[in-house]
Amino acid sequence: MNERLIAAGEGAPPLSRRSAMSGFRKSTAFADRAFKLTTLLFALAIAGLVVLIVIETARNSTLTLDKFGLSFLWREAWDPVREEFGALPFIYGTTVSSLIALAIAVPVSIGVGVFLVEHAPRRLASPVSFLVQLLAAIPSVVYGLWGVFVLAPVLGEHVYPRIQSALGFLPAFKGSISGLGLLTAGIILSIMIVPIVTTVTVDILRAVPATQREAALALGATKWEAAQVVLQNARSGITGAVILGLGRAVGETMAVTMVIGNRPEISASLFDPSSTIASAIANEFTEATSDVYLSALVELGLILFVLTFAINALARLLVWAATRRMGQPESA
């Protein structure tokens, strides 16, 4: 650290440098250590916080952990009056709405990513990526409002009936249509995760060494074929980006709560209302008066925490592995 400081001071006039430097060094030696310790403390605080959250949620859900044990994960009942609780309908709703979101968002994001990195002229690339980033800046409750007032009615009146008349023989598109439900939640979520998946995809594609593109083009590949080569190389990194999007979708609360229909039930139809872990907690926490009820909600939180933690860890690992492997030859 000190050597670097001196190196940084190299440009100062040589006469005054020596005396100024020795005084300076004494005063910074302590500040340096203090600075290092403080930042270390901050870093440790984050780790400590994570551990504390796990301990606290586990401690506050002991009632249901004891009462239902692991069966909480596959019980279907959610009846606050009789204090029968199970997480399965929420796990189902969370998983399916997130998967719908991925199915829509991933092709779009990869397309946008490839366009931005491989094709877009600079004057088009920056406004497009700015707009994509802007999507991430819109508060989730605004998406929810838009979902309730605009998207759900349009889907319920014009889009879903058409899907049903064409594909109604599939169990996924049977049943009555209200506009609110799993599919609508998935569509809202897909818009919300496009920014993060796109941004990470762009970073990954940029990390692919330019030599690869050049090599492909030099061998006579078309732009499309060159892009395929690049995507091939970026595969695991993009997988990471997708999983990062999944992590976001799984934990999204406000917008989903407003359009999913909030019904803890497992139903084959995507038009039917459902409920996610996050929306259940947001909905029911304020008036959860009995201890068992509260404990069940906290345990849902614990499940969500473990789930998102695992998803994020996996994603980071993949992105890290991909950028490191590809980044090395470039910097060497």
């Binding site: 005063s27 606050p80 909030n262 304020t286 008066t289």
Partner: protein, 361 residues
């Protein structure tokens, strides 16, 4: 580099300045008249009225300040039990075991009345729908599935009921409104009581869930052939129709401030000494059957004399002068019989055994 050190000095100076400033403010804060600040938390339903009350009361009594966080009845009960607030608010009276868990005796002071109405969106149907208790239960149980069901047609002769499916909209969040509504359905339908029961959140046999009164209102408004339940206020403000319900005297009653107050008057005779009572399905020809009190929860023994006095004075004002203001805000005022019972409770509030009520309003 020296620039950095300068910055550090500036930050230090800034912190010192803030410290000094805060000291000065601390010094001059409590000077002058002794201001009392009371904190409350609880039910969301009476919140608009309470805010109005507090601001009006504060104009007349500048040294008493009231704050109220509308976090829900459950939160209100929790916070008054742990004494983190000076008063709580709840739509449902506290249960026996909740009262036992409190560190002191908690009194229930009814402030105003509310009602839950069954609202609907039926294009082409003019005039209000009439519902019998059994019918209301059957619709929300999902056993009556279409609007032209003979049972609905029998109760509404002449109405052009569509042959479409009924979309039930209920609350997705736990709520005092749900408590009152399910309390009513449990009283009038054995099947409801057995299959669903009473609670701030229940396992709904049918329909979709929307968050808050405003969420249900919005959903009913934009979904044709839907039915939901909301506080009267929301139906009125959004110009949604409210079904007439058949009460225990066999009359179909339109929900209105008068029919709600009538329900409270009808139930007043059966009110227990601690005023904890459910007035759903109340007796009386003109009583609207899904009505309820909303309560403020206060400790009988106040720990701070100044705060206790301010609280007692406010409660007296709210249950007397405040009642007219309630009507303007679409809350039903307490009937005279209930105000008289409430006065006894307010007079019982004491500090170190000495009643705090001084006789002035």
């Amino acid at each position: 580099m020296t620039k950095c050190i300068h910055t550090a000095h500036w930050i230090l100076l800034f912190l010192v300045a803030i410290a000094l400033l805060s000291l000065t403010f601390y010094g001059c804060g409590p000077s002058g008249t002794r201001e009392v600040r009371l904190q409350g938390a609880g039910a969301t339903f009476p919140n608009p009225l309470y805010q109005k009350w507090f601001s009006e009361y504060n104009k007349a009594h500048p040294d008493s300040k009231f704050d109220y966080q509308s976090i829900g009845s459950g939160g209100g009960i929790k916070q008054i039990t742990s004494r983190t607030v000076d008063f709580g608010g709840s739509d449902a009276p506290m249960k026996d075991d909740e009262l036992r868990a409190a560190p002191g005796e908690i009194l229930h002071i009814p402030t105003v009345l509310g009602a839950v109405v069954v609202t609907y969106n039926l294009p082409g149907v003019s005039g209000e729908l009439k519902l019998t208790p059994e019918l209301a239960a059957a619709i929300f149980l999902g056993t009556v599935k279409t609007w032209n069901d003979p049972v609905i047609a029998a109760a509404n002769p002449g109405a052009a009921l569509p042959a479409s499916d009924i979309t039930v909209v209920h609350r997705s969040d736990g709520s005092g409104t749900t408590f009152v509504f399910t309390d009513y359905l449990s009283k009038v339908s054995a099947e409801w009581k057995e299959r669903v029961g009473t609670g701030t959140a229940v396992s709904w046999p049918a329909g979709i869930g929307a968050k808050g009164n405003e969420g249900v209102t919005q959903q009913v408004k934009q979904t044709p052939n839907s039915v939901g339940y909301v506080e009267l206020l929301y139906a009125e403000q959004n110009k949604l129709p409210a079904a007439h319900l058949k009460n225990s005297a066999g009359e179909f009653v339109r929900p209105s401030l008068d029919s709600i107050t009538a329900a409270a008057a009808g139930a007043a005779g059966h009110m227990p000494d601690d005023l904890r009572v459910s007035i759903t399905n109340a007796p009386g020809n003109s009583a609207y059957p899904i009505s309820s009190f909303t309560y403020l929860l206060v400790y009988k023994e106040q720990q701070d004399a100044a705060k206790g006095t301010a609280l007692v004075d406010f409660l007296w004002w709210a249950t007397h002068d405040g009642q007219q203001m309630a009507r303007d805000q679409l809350y039903a005022p307490l009937p005279r019989e209930v105000v008289e019972r409430t006065e006894l409770k307010i007079e019982a509030i004491a500090h170190q055994g000495k009643p705090l009520r001084t006789g002035q309003p």
